[in-house]
């Protein structure tokens, strides 16, 4: 059993590598990566697991993600079962005790926000429904405020030496954010009652925030890919109840939206959905600025 000796020697060596000074954050989605950077500044090192071009429902527990989860000191995820297909695997396969459920290193945004569209009936005939409600909660900027406050506290718990720094960062960010909300709500008043067709129920918080009107979805049920039959029905419905645009997230397949838009003679708006979803959505401010600009372009 000589190899055991060699192996354990190698293991000890590898474990002894000193950890970096900055707090290691694993953000499940780009919006939380961006928020962690706003609040943590140079005291944190942020790894973002997904991009704006990926569907956060359908991610595999890839080796690269397990490796990053292994060294994470804080997981910042959406929760509400958005990451149910991959986050539990990362937790169990990373061998990282700090990020397990219930530990300070595990943070779910949905714990601090009242989710909407909580299903009264749980049945998969209704599609891939989330028992805890719609998880795409970052598109209401008021939710970002709540999550930012909670995340600031969490950063202070994990890295008490920098508590003051995180508080100052948070204060500064929230001041800018509140200002921006006022601006967006003013601009967004022009979107009130705008009838739109969506791809997936991933814009619900935005629609509710600025009181747009959702008149149809390309997916026949949440999580079920659009089918020709359903798109045909939707098109027929739009003849009676017209919409102004088809709005899809950057990661949604563009073809169903284009198919419908061409026939219904309305434009397709690809919104960034999250940070990195368009050239202008470089941070959380850019995300909302660009989303509003793209939608307002149709109204004018």
């Amino acid at each position: 059993m000589k190899w055991i000796k060699h192996l354990s020697g190698a293991l000890l060596l590898a474990v002894a590598v000193p950890a970096a000074a900055a707090l290691n954050i694993f953000a499940c989605e780009p919006e939380w990566g961006a928020l962690a950077k706003e609040l943590g500044g140079d005291k944190v090192a942020v790894f973002t697991a997904t991009t704006a071009l990926q569907d956060p429902h359908h991610i595999e527990a890839r080796p690269s993600l397990i490796a990053r989860a292994r060294s994470a000191e804080l997981m910042v995820c959406t929760g509400a079962q958005l990451e149910i297909g991959w986050l539990p695997l990362l937790l169990t396969q990373s061998g990282n005790a700090r990020i397990q459920l219930g530990r300070p290193g595990y943070f779910e945004a949905a714990d601090y926000v009242a989710t909407i569209e909580v299903p009264q009936v749980l049945d998969r005939s209704l599609g891939d429904v989330h028992p805890a409600g719609n998880p795409h909660l970052h598109l209401d900027p008021h939710n970002i405020v709540k999550v930012a406050q909670a995340l600031t506290q969490r950063l202070a718990v994990l890295d008490p030496a920098n508590t003051e720094y995180y508080r100052a960062q948070s204060k500064q960010f929230l001041a800018r954010w509140q200002e921006a909300i006022a601006r967006w709500e003013k601009q967004g008043s022009g979107l009130r009652d705008l009838p739109i067709v969506i791809h997936h129920k991933n814009l619900s918080y935005f629609i509710r925030w600025l009181k747009l009107r959702e008149v149809g979805a390309l997916e026949p049920r949440p999580g079920i890919p659009p089918s020709a039959g359903h798109l045909g029905e939707l098109l027929a419905r739009l003849q009676k109840q017209p919409a102004k645009a088809v709005v899809r997230a950057a990661y949604n397949d563009p073809r169903p939206a284009e198919w419908l838009a061409e026939r219904a003679k309305i434009p397709v708006i690809a919104v960034p959905f999250t940070v990195g979803g368009s050239d202008k959505a470089k941070d959380l401010f850019g995300l909302f600025d660009d989303t509003l600009a793209r939608l307002l372009a149709v109204v004018k």
């Binding site: 190899w3 055991i4 192996l7 293991l11 590898a14 474990v15 590598v17 950890a19 997904t50 991009t51 071009l53 990926q54 569907d55 359908h58 991610i59 595999e60 527990a61 890839r62 080796p63 690269s64 397990i66 490796a67 990053r68 292994r70 060294s71 079962q81 149910i84 297909g85 991959w86 539990p88 695997l89 937790l91 169990t92 396969q93 990373s94 061998g95 990282n96 005790a97 700090r98 397990q100 459920l101 219930g102 009242a114 989710t115 909407i116 909580v118 009264q120 998969r124 599609g127 891939d128 409600g133 008021h142 006022a182 999580g223 079920i224 890919p225 990661y251 397949d253």
Partner: protein
């Protein structure tokens, strides 16, 4: 609208003098009130939402702590040109697993019942029972796994699928073809599930590096039940993996498995047609090299993606074989001689999702007979090569193509065609239609 006007009116009434004098102030107050109203509306909505969530009563009943439960339904319709009951992989010691094609006509696959939950802050528990079409219940996996060891270590104990190779740990319902590749069938009885302990360690590096070691009772093929104290089988494995840009992900691994089977028996037919029992005692060593590459544009697999997967196996046995025909022909009785094998096998498969819901795949697998040194035959102890028909020099191969359709993440229908040359001298043309449905808790998307 009406409400807002009313509020404005109220404000106007409250400060009659100021209104006319200071328009700017009024609009400021209006704005503030509007904001307050907005905030309160949101708070009320939030409270309503909470009340609703509480109503659904998730936290009240005892059942709130029930483990996640899921059920996998599987079934087949099979059309095979050869009788599935005569299935064998000629040239290779039978592995004892259920490795043949499904029964002809309609047939039920294994119905899997999966339970999993965190036990406490320290352990997670998983149990998977397979209800077989023969109306038996098999414990496929039942293990605990540590959550709190930290430093990248995870200890698993109980019955579990070994971490060797790539496909071994993947459950049948997540396979890309209806059955296992030939080397898995020949060298591991379909797959290696064992009773024992497993320790894994993930390195704290951005590049994925994982090392693992297992100790087991070694009672599954290529081992056998030994009725001995101590460890009967052991394995070590290492995995490397990562991303190349945002569109590619890969993993490569090396594994080594060692077993010491004792009187591991299989039945064959001697030259007179009598049933003989051959039993092997010695050591069995298996090396596996595996690699998988996945592609999805920008890492978004929803519309289209491609998966390339391959594994190479080298299998060596060294020990003695006992030939026993006393139960039937009784020509030679019991004869024992030295026995060793050095065989190999590999497979490669590609699966392409060419549009949402639709995937097509192709697999080629092959076994190499290599060398089989049978001391009983070579040393002229009595029985000749004709008394060991299963060990006839033959290198099986197979071509498999499949196409599957998944209406949702929870259902899949598949049609598979295979030209299987596992048996010497014949090709078994198999057409298999299969369904795989999953009910209950959402399963994980394992890489």
């Amino acid at each position: 609208m009406f409400k807002r006007n009313l509020t404005a009116a109220a404000v106007a009434l409250a400060f009659p003098g100021a209104v006319l004098a200071q328009d700017a102030d009024l609009s400021k107050i209006r704005e503030e009130i509007k904001q307050m109203k907005g905030t309160y509306e949101q708070r009320i909505q939030a409270l309503e939402q909470r009340a609703k969530t509480a109503e659904s009563g998730a936290g009240k009943a005892e059942s709130a702590f029930n483990p996640a439960v899921s059920l996998i339904l599987q079934g087949t319709y099979a059309n095979t040109s050869q009788d599935p009951n005569t299935f064998q992989i000629t040239g290779f010691v039978p592995s004892g697993g259920e490795v043949g094609p499904p029964k002809r006509s309609f047939g039920l696959g294994e119905t899997e019942l999966v339970f999993s939950a965190n036990i406490d802050p320290y352990f997670r528990g998983v149990a998977i029972a397979a209800l077989t079409p023969e109306n038996e219940v098999e414990v496929e996996e039942a293990y605990f796994q540590t959550l709190a060891l930290g430093k990248g270590f995870t200890l698993k104990g109980g019955r579990f699928f070994s971490g060797i190779g790539y496909q071994n740990e993947i459950h049948q319902h997540a396979w890309d073809f209806q059955d296992a590749p030939l080397p898995y069938k020949a060298f591991l009885g379909g797959r290696l599930g064992q009773d024992g302990l497993q320790l894994r360690w993930v390195a704290p590096t951005p590049l994925f590096l994982e090392l693992g070691a297992e100790a087991s009772s070694g009672d599954q093929f290529p081992g056998s039940d030994r009725n001995k104290n101590g460890v009967g089988g052991g394995s070590v494995f290492g995995h490397l993996g990562g991303d190349i840009g945002s569109s590619y992900a890969w993993r490569a691994g090396l594994s080594y498995l060692r077993n010491s089977p004792q009187d591991r028996a299989y039945e064959d037919v001697d030259s007179l047609g009598g049933v003989v029992t051959n039993s092997f005692t010695g050591t069995a060593k298996l090396w596996i090299a595996d690699a998988i590459l996945k592609w999805a544009p920008d890492g978004n697999a929803a519309r289209t993606n491609f998966k390339l997967q391959g594994e190479y196996f080298r299998f060596k046995q060294d020990g003695s074989l006992t030939y026993d025909d006393s139960g039937a022909s009784a020509v030679f009785g019991t004869v024992t001689g030295p026995f060793s094998t050095d065989q190999s096998g590999w497979y490669a498969q590609g699966v392409w999702q060419f549009m949402p819901r639709w995937r097509a795949g192709y697999r080629y697998d092959q076994l190499r007979y290599g060398s089989v040194t049978n001391g009983i035959v070579n040393n002229g102890l009595g029985p000749t090569a004709a008394d060991f028909p299963l060990l006839t020099n033959h290198s099986p191969s197979r071509n498999t193509a499949m196409i599957d359709w998944s209406p949702s993440e929870f259902s899949r229908l598949r049609v598979q065609y295979a030209a299987d040359k596992s048996r010497i001298g014949v090709t078994d043309n198999q057409i298999i239609v299969q369904y795989i449905l999953s009910l209950g808790a959402h399963g994980g998307h394992k890489f």
